[in-house]
Amino acid sequence: MSNVWSLVKKEVRAYFGSPIAYVVMFSFLLLVGYFFYSLVLWFNAQAMQMAQNPYYAQQVNINEMVFSPLFHNMSIVLIFVIPLLTMRLLAEEKKTGTDELLYTSPLTVGQIVVGKYVAALVLLAVLLGLTAVLSVFAFVLGNPELAPWLTGYLGLFLMGAAFIAVGLFFSSLTDNQIVAAILTLMTLLLFLLLNWVSSLGSGAAWTKVVSYLSFSEHFEDMTRGIVDTKDVVYYLSVSFFGLFLAHSVLQSRRWR
């Protein structure tokens, strides 16, 4: 356990000791801030109009009209941000030869993989945590519901965690960070758009299976305050599978 902790500390320091963390946080916050701002403006305009009509006035909901689309936008941005955070995790060690230090220390491959994974999760938590500051304005000035907001962030975190596991796997395959980033990005985009097929097959069984594999499919409900076990299980399974593959790739050095 202390081994994992040492690695986590080292990786987090590596993120914050280089410009990566700051550049990513800056760009992410800038984009999310812009989304939030424009959504709030749009919400204001809508709310004004809807308030004219007593029937529609009932339906003015800041959670549905601001946070839900905001979380969707954030999930898309994460698809581009996560590969940049995960690409270096294992590829860089291989490139610079520092993996030789790790593998000749009394560390297991599992500890190395988990250490790297947790470090990226810490960065994801910081990234999401910073955007939560924006919501403070909404809570001070309006009265959104807390539960859907919390489940939205839970969904973003689980989804990000799954993305990181995928990125970690691709980083284990190569010593080239760019290759790792591109493969991760393509895979995440593909999984995001998998649910498009559901519009093709008009309810055929295979389209259901394929859409079940889509990242976006499992995120929808969480932004509305519903935590379904099947969605949580989906994200946890993807994370676990990614880590398992990364572990297998690294472990295979032992019999190659």
């Binding site: 081994n3 040492s6 500390k9 030869g97 030789e100 230090l101 220390s105 009394p106 019999w255």
Partner: protein, 307 residues
């Protein structure tokens, strides 16, 4: 302390190490010599548990490398060919990290970092980022990290590469000072380093063991004759004839401004050669032992030995 039996490593069709067998006694310093691509680095990587062997056995500090890798990794220090450094860390921060993953007990980590900073001569750069220090310092950080867990066995892959002559001397002194408490296996291209530092050598070529033993043992088994090379004010056929007159001398040859005098192994005619040169006023400028490590090494690697 290090025992290797019938060790073989294949990369696909390529045989990098071919049934290698050798043994290093505790507390001794042994050099691993060989041309490039001889299998030195591969052998060291197997010993440290970085690479699995295809066949054979390696025992380090009483633990089998394949069965108990973690037990081995805890008691060894390893300086790889490419020094494993994180450029964005400070020297002291890096050493503290290595101490952690090498499982140095928490209470002793600070002292361990201070100890290796001192012994590797890094006190002045402890707070600097690794990317900003010179090549020589980086090499020393590599040696420092190998010593952080006070290992029983040190495996150093070309420890003095990239250092200036003064630093090479310092590192050699450092390695020599570790004799006795630590068992050291080091690989090198610099042959005089072996004569100065090592108790014995293992010479490999194309993955196969060519010779193994102390320098004297190797000289005895590979060289039939012993001798000296003398440098005189003037070296010609007349002077050569004089040396040929010394009883016991077997072979005399003029090589440029030098004369090579050989006699059969076991005798020592160095005093006679020197006395002759002085008595006859030949102007002795220099006299050195013939069986240098270079000759011996080339002979062993190429597989030639005296008839």
């Amino acid at each position: 302390m290090i025992e290797v039996r019938e060790l073989t490593k294949k990369y696909g069709e390529l045989v990098a190490v071919d049934s290698l067998t050798f043994k290093v006694e505790p507390g001794r310093i042994w050099g691993l010599l060989g041309p490039n691509a001889a299998g030195k680095t591969t052998t060291m990587r197997i010993l440290t548990g970085y690479l699995p062997a295809t066949a054979g056995q390696a025992v380090v500090a009483g633990h089998d490398v394949f069965d108990e890798p973690d037990a081995v990794k805890r008691v060894i220090g390893y300086l790889p060919e490419v020094v494993p450094l994180y450029p964005d860390m400070t020297v002291a921060g890096y050493l503290a990290f290595v101490a952690e993953i090498k499982q140095v007990p928490k209470a002793q980590r600070k002292a361990a970092v201070a100890r290796v900073l001192g012994s590797a001569g890094l006190k002045d750069v402890g707070g600097r980022l690794i990317k900003n220090i010179s090549r020589g310092y980086k090499q020393r950080v590599g040696i420092a990290q190998a010593m952080i867990n006070d290992p029983q066995v040190l495996i150093l892959d070309e420890p003095t590469i990239g250092l200036d002559p003064a630093q090479i001397m310092e590192i050699r002194e450092l390695i020599k000072s570790l004799r006795g408490e630590h068992t050291i296996l080091l690989s090198t291209h610099i042959l005089p380093e072996v004569t100065q530092v090592c108790d014995g050598v293992i010479i490999i070529n194309e993955g196969r063991l060519k010779a193994c033993g102390s320098l004297e043992e190797l000289a005895a088994s590979f060289e039939r004759t012993d001798g000296v090379v003398v440098k005189l004010r003037r070296a010609g056929a007349d002077e050569a004839a004089l040396f040929r007159g010394i009883p016991g001398v077997e072979k005399v040859a003029v090589e440029g401004s030098e004369i090579r005098v050989e006699w059969s192994r076991g005798r020592d005619l160095r005093d006679d050669v020197a006395r002759l040169a002085l008595d006859r006023g030949l102007g002795l400028r220099e006299m050195r032992s013939l069986a240098g490590i270079e000759d011996l090494y080339l002979k062993i690697v190429s597989g030639r030995s005296e008839p």
